[in-house]
């Protein structure tokens, strides 16, 4: 029995949002009489951090503290329409809708403040700490809270805003097939080191090293966490998970977590991540978002690493021990290749 080391690489360009555009999202923002703001979305935060990021975006655009913004997600009965949390579109599409809604609400906020201070709204600025003051004259100031109270109880004004972000559906040129499939791309490169046991066919992931370019990381810690968790999912797809039975009879198909195998806390690999920030011109504060891309490059990289380790090209997932062993047997033994990036390669 020998354990063979292998290295695999994968690079991707990843589209943000749905193919050909035409996938709008809406946001509604309103102030409450205590000077805090609610953002209503139908978008779902399933753990990727949409709530945190849209909260930051709304606070930044409104010019109020992030603590003063509450994001209410995922009630499609009463929230404004959203196409959904998929296609790595959340930060980009929903974030832009939130900016639009927050800008409109900020306009009303400043109008209401101007009426209270008896000045011109154009001369006002926010300090991000809950105050609005006259530019160059910070002593002429009013709190966002007092403006909200005045708007609500004296001026009879709703401090609110509506936002939608829509990239119109791209036409296809019938002659050339040319089209604009998406508005922006994120990019990644991932290198994975594995060890393949030529007696059992088991593949161990030893280490992952990756670089991600995903616009501005609006919440760097959340981005990093999503990349760590997503890479685990990618590794799980590559080597473990399938709803298909390993053997031809459907009776062997997995029905529960006993049979539907995933890597546990003892199977994880060290993962070093570099996040490169190149703000996207049409992204909210330059963000594109990691999305599905955090899992995708792991799959081809692992397949390439297995090929590099034992010369077996498995092209259907998962790369189960059985498939690796059959491949080794078919070619009459493991055929390790030189490892890219190492001496002698």
């Amino acid at each position: 029995m020998t354990k063979h080391r292998g290295r695999g690489v994968a690079s991707i360009n990843y589209p943000i949002g749905m193919n050909l555009g035409g996938d709008p999202s809406q946001a509604l923002v309103h102030s409450n009489p205590d000077g805090k703001f609610t953002v209503a979305l139908s978008s779902i935060d399933l753990g990727q951090g949409m709530k945190s990021v849209t909260r930051q975006i709304a606070a930044e655009t409104l010019g109020v503290p992030v603590e003063d913004v509450y994001v209410d997600t995922a009630d499609s009965d009463i929230g404004p329409h959203c196409m959904g949390s998929f296609a790595s579109r959340g930060t980009h599409r929903v974030g832009n809708a939130v900016i639009a809604a927050a800008k409109e609400a900020r306009g009303v906020l400043l109008d209401a403040a101007a009426e209270e201070l008896e000045v011109n709204a154009q001369d006002l600025e926010t300090d991000g700490k809950g105050n609005i003051h006259v530019r160059g004259a910070p002593q002429r100031s009013i709190t966002v809270r007092d403006v909200s109270i005045a708007a609500q109880f004296r001026q009879g004004r709703t401090i609110s805003g509506r936002g939608i972000f829509l990239i119109p559906l791209s036409d296809v040129n019938p002659e050339t097939g040319e089209m604009s499939p998406v508005s922006c791309y994120a990019h990644a490169c991932l290198v994975v080191d594995v060890e393949v046991d030529d007696e059992t066919g088991v593949v161990d992931v030893l280490q992952m090293n990756s670089a991600y370019e995903l616009g501005r990381a609006l919440n760097p810690k959340l981005v990093e966490q999503q990349l760590v968790g997503g890479a685990w999912m990618g590794m799980s797809h590559a080597l473990y998970e399938t709803t298909e039975p390993y053997y031809p009879d459907r009776a062997h198909a997995p029905n529960d977590f006993n049979d539907y195998v995933m890597p546990g806390p003892g199977d994880i690999a060290e993962h070093n991540i570099a996040v490169l920030e190149r703000p996207a011109p049409d992204g909210p504060f330059g963000g594109k978002g990691p999305g599905e891309m955090c899992a995708n490059p792991v799959l081809p990289a692992v397949a390439n690493a297995v090929f590099n380790a034992v010369g077996v090209r498995v092209d259907d997932l998962p790369i189960s021990p059985e498939k690796v062993l059959r491949g080794i047997k078919d070619q009459g033994g493991a055929r390790p290749m030189p490892t890219p990036g190492q001496a002698g390669a």
Partner: protein, 160 residues
């Protein structure tokens, strides 16, 4: 179906409920008592999201017959915080971003608490072993392992 009276303490408070024959503890905690911290993940003992401590030991409440808990001391994640003061494990989970969707979190916290209560200075391997029965779909486990190790280190600082 007959109902039986059942008494136990939940996070230190006395509870008295009526339970059905064969009703599991997870169901009783969520439906009869209204403690929604333990989560229903699989209902068959394979995910760990329903983990609670019974007399200090981690148990899968979905597989625990409620009537076996007569007189037991049951702890759930609802009892970890002391008012606004979070438990060191909760602080560490927050700071290490050890929750994404959060569905596994209360089970992870209880599995971790069971470990730290008995092994205040665990090795990484002991942490891995302690949460090996808890599935997390989101985080890739690394942040959870780091959070538990960090909470252990904080615990040492507290008692030092």
């Amino acid at each position: 179906m007959s109902k039986k009276p059942l008494q136990f303490t939940l996070n230190g408070a006395n509870k008295a409920v009526f339970v059905e024959d064969g009703q599991n503890l997870l169901d009783v905690l969520r439906r009869e008592v209204g403690d929604f911290a333990p989560k229903y993940g699989c209902g068959q003992g394979t995910c760990g999201s329903c983990t609670v401590l019974i007399d200090g030991k981690p148990h899968l409440s979905c597989l625990t017959l409620a009537e076996r808990s007569e007189g037991a001391s049951i702890e759930t994640a609802s009892g970890l915080a002391d008012g606004p003061d979070l438990h060191p494990l909760q602080d560490a989970f927050m700071e290490h971003f050890a929750a994404q969707c959060g569905y596994c979190t209360s089970g992870m916290l209880m599995a971790a608490k069971a470990l730290l209560d008995h092994t205040p200075t665990p090795t990484r391997e002991e942490v891995v072993e302690a949460i090996a029965g808890n599935v997390c779909r989101c985080t890739g486990y690394e942040p959870i392992i780091n959070a538990i190790l960090d909470a252990a280190a904080r615990g040492r600082r507290f008692s030092a």
